[in-house]
Symmetry: C2
Subunit: 259 residues, 2 copies
């Protein structure tokens, strides 16, 4: 929702356009220079930080909806985006207790009551995405007073069950690291083995062996050695690598086992 | 739904008890003697085979609902059960076109129309479970004319998007094999290394190295060697192993990396 009219339409008759009772929330991870962050929005009416989220249009698949929602908040159309799982614990919407009804009525012009299409509990479908922070342009929507990056290990208190969603998104992403290639839009087109090792270390939260780890990626055929070194002077200048496009795309499709 | 009254109540006023627009479908895998099967039910009104499924009570978590649904069909209370993901492609309910409305009206006593709480499209949340086939007692419900096991590589045509759910459940289970221990209720309490290798081969669909693979499980501390051999005569009698309960439970909780 980008303006007042859209917000009014959504609360009043959103059930015509959107699926009721089901939402999407996205843990958008941002990587840059060895740091991992997650994008949060601060809601004006509930006064807490949340993952960017929204509802699913009746004409959209779940993936389409997640893609639209992440694009709205980051300006990026084609993020690496994967479903985590659905979250539906009883009472997961309970922070709506602290929803500021008066502020809402002042802004929108009517109240939400029991008969609203938004009144019942929702199941939310969690997704995660990974982007290079420098590529993204975080943008608050009409009901958010802020939208910005937080280090994954220093998050503020989150509303609803969004802390659980972040935790599950991190676990899922860390399992996926063993089964899908990653890094294409997170590293420069040419990178050193040290740079890709750092990326994997930051994403996985683990220390990796400086020789074995890159050798595994090379053995899988994911990396191509370039006939070019980073010029830092002397004989220790590191060699550049790039992703092998064909192997990378095939592995994204078929999966791999990084062992 | 086990009888006519329950079925009538469900269709007429199920919205009081269940969450609308969201269902659960379970790929229940059955393993026995080196064979992998999946449990299917044949619907009386749509005349196709389906995964066992149902709706989520407003008082249940998603896991609770999946647990109830699998228990109803198998008689087993504590299956190894994991969420796969949510499925919500536009048109996924389209085989309802072949829903036999007359047969339904004859059985139930009224028609379902546009105003029914069941009229809109649903998102379904897929789960998978694994059990030893001999422990389960498949049971059809009121709207099913059959409930039985099919080999995973010889399934009949499935309704809705249930073929996609089986495929995704298999992929998810095969990734989980690398990250969670498995086998506790699928093997006898004492088993040989050959038996656990066969289990993993059947579940993963891959051929495994007869020495390296068991060694990995041993290195992870999952197996305890017993001072007892299967008596098949001669010096080649295989040694029995059992799971190390503590390591197994901890790995279920924390995850592992089987590399």
């Amino acid at each position: 929702m980008e303006n007042l009219q859209e917000a009014r339409d959504f609360f009043e008759k959103g059930y015509l356009e959107y699926r009721p009772n089901i939402s999407i929330d996205c843990a958008i991870f941002g990587y840059h220079n060895g740091e991992l962050k997650v994008l949060l929005v601060k809601n004006k009416l509930i006064r807490k930080w949340y993952l960017p989220g929204g509802f699913i249009k009746k004409t959209e698949s779940l993936d389409d909806a997640a893609s639209r929602i992440t694009a709205e908040r980051t300006g990026l159309e084609k993020l690496f985006l994967k479903q985590v799982k659905a979250f539906g614990d009883v009472g997961r919407n309970s922070t709506l207790d602290v929803f500021d009804e008066e502020a809402f009525e002042q802004i929108i012009g009517f109240r939400i009551d029991e008969s609203s299409w938004l009144a019942g509990e929702t199941v939310t479908i969690g997704f995660y995405a990974i982007t290079d922070i420098v590529n993204a342009s975080p943008k608050a929507d009409f009901f958010s007073e802020a939208c910005r990056w937080f280090p994954v290990d220093a998050l503020p208190e989150l509303g609803f069950d969004h802390e659980e969603i972040v935790t599950e998104a991190l676990s899922r992403m860390r399992i996926d690291l063993y089964h899908f290639p990653i890094g294409k839009n997170l590293l420069q087109p040419k990178f050193t083995l040290k740079e890709i090792k750092t990326l994997y270390e930051v994403l996985s939260g683990k220390t990796l062996n400086p020789t074995n780890f890159p050798n595994k990626l090379i053995a899988l055929g994911l990396l191509t050695k370039l006939d070019e070194k980073r010029s830092i002077g002397g004989h220790r200048s590191p060699t550049y690598y790039k992703f092998n496009e064909d192997t990378y795309e095939k592995a994204l499709e078929d999966g791999l086992v990084l062992v």
